[in-house]
């Protein structure tokens, strides 16, 4: 059976570290970086890449439009 694989790209310079994407992710893919961006915010990162199914919940709730989501099927 085909498996869905997703990936999240965070515009780390735009991210304000609100963490709403982390909360919204049903697969616990996202976490906050240890590093800070130029504005001093910890930004969202994919901490658990394998779990992402590309549902885009993170992007949908992101107030700053920082998140792009990709999705593909693996046979």
């Amino acid at each position: 059976m085909a498996k869905i694989k997703g990936a999240v790209v965070v515009n780390k310079d735009r991210c304000k570290g609100c963490q709403l994407c982390v909360v919204a992710c049903p697969a616990n893919v996202l976490a906050m970086s240890k590093q800070v961006n130029a504005k001093g915010y910890n930004y969202a990162i994919m901490a658990n890449e394998d779990a992402c199914v590309g549902c885009a919940s993170c992007g949908i709730v992101c107030p700053d439009g920082c998140i792009s989501v990709y999705k593909t099927k693996i046979d």
């Binding site: 997703g6 919204a24 590309g54 992007g59 107030p63």
Partner: protein, 258 residues
Amino acid sequence: MALEDIIKPENLVYKKPDIMNDNPMHYCPGCSHGVVHKLIAEVIEEMGLVEDTIGVTPVGCAVFAYNYIDIDWEEAAHGRAPALATAIKRLRPNKLVFTYQGDGDLAAIGTAETIHACNRGESIAIIFINNGIYGMTGGQMAPTTIEGMKTATCPYGRDVKLNGYPLKITNQLKDLEGTRYVTRQSVQTAAAVRKTKKAIRKAFENCMDGKGGANVVEVVSTCSSGWKLTPEKANKWMEENMFPQYPLGDLIDKDANQ
């Protein structure tokens, strides 16, 4: 499968809309405004109305909405956005005309403009952000501040004997003969965001079909800075405290009743 094999243009399923530009937004982390801005931009793009939309920004945190969505805008005096929108729509009836207003702008200083524009049945959409507080001026009491809620000008909590009752203005707007669609939504989860997007789309479509009638989309929102909570906790506080006062759902949809 490596990430770079997934991150390809043909696999893109979600990104911010094109007319939402790269200017960094001045909103605080987690602010609901950003989500609603994004939805408005998405709906305008999806309806193919980028060249045919005129937005009106308020006085309040969203005053600078015009810096983030690349459409034509007018910035109104505090509370007067529905008066501007009335004239714009009447003079340019083929355009999509919407206002974007906070609770202070719409339900305090602009109450008269809001009620009369709705009552005239202007073919406009009013996007109403209700977070129960004045964000831009530093967290003072709003007309929609709920009983007991603490703000800079009711530091011991809103006392209805002193300050009167929270104004549930959308409840009144739904009773006006001039309103066509009045709904109350939120954006704290992906599911809620999808519903709000549908509501905005419906409101905008109503503005463009020539049938007339005013459309109001209230979005019960957070102000994590003003509420002094993290964005996550603000969402939870909103669900527990704001939603009982401002229950979600369509208040009136005159097309559905026909």
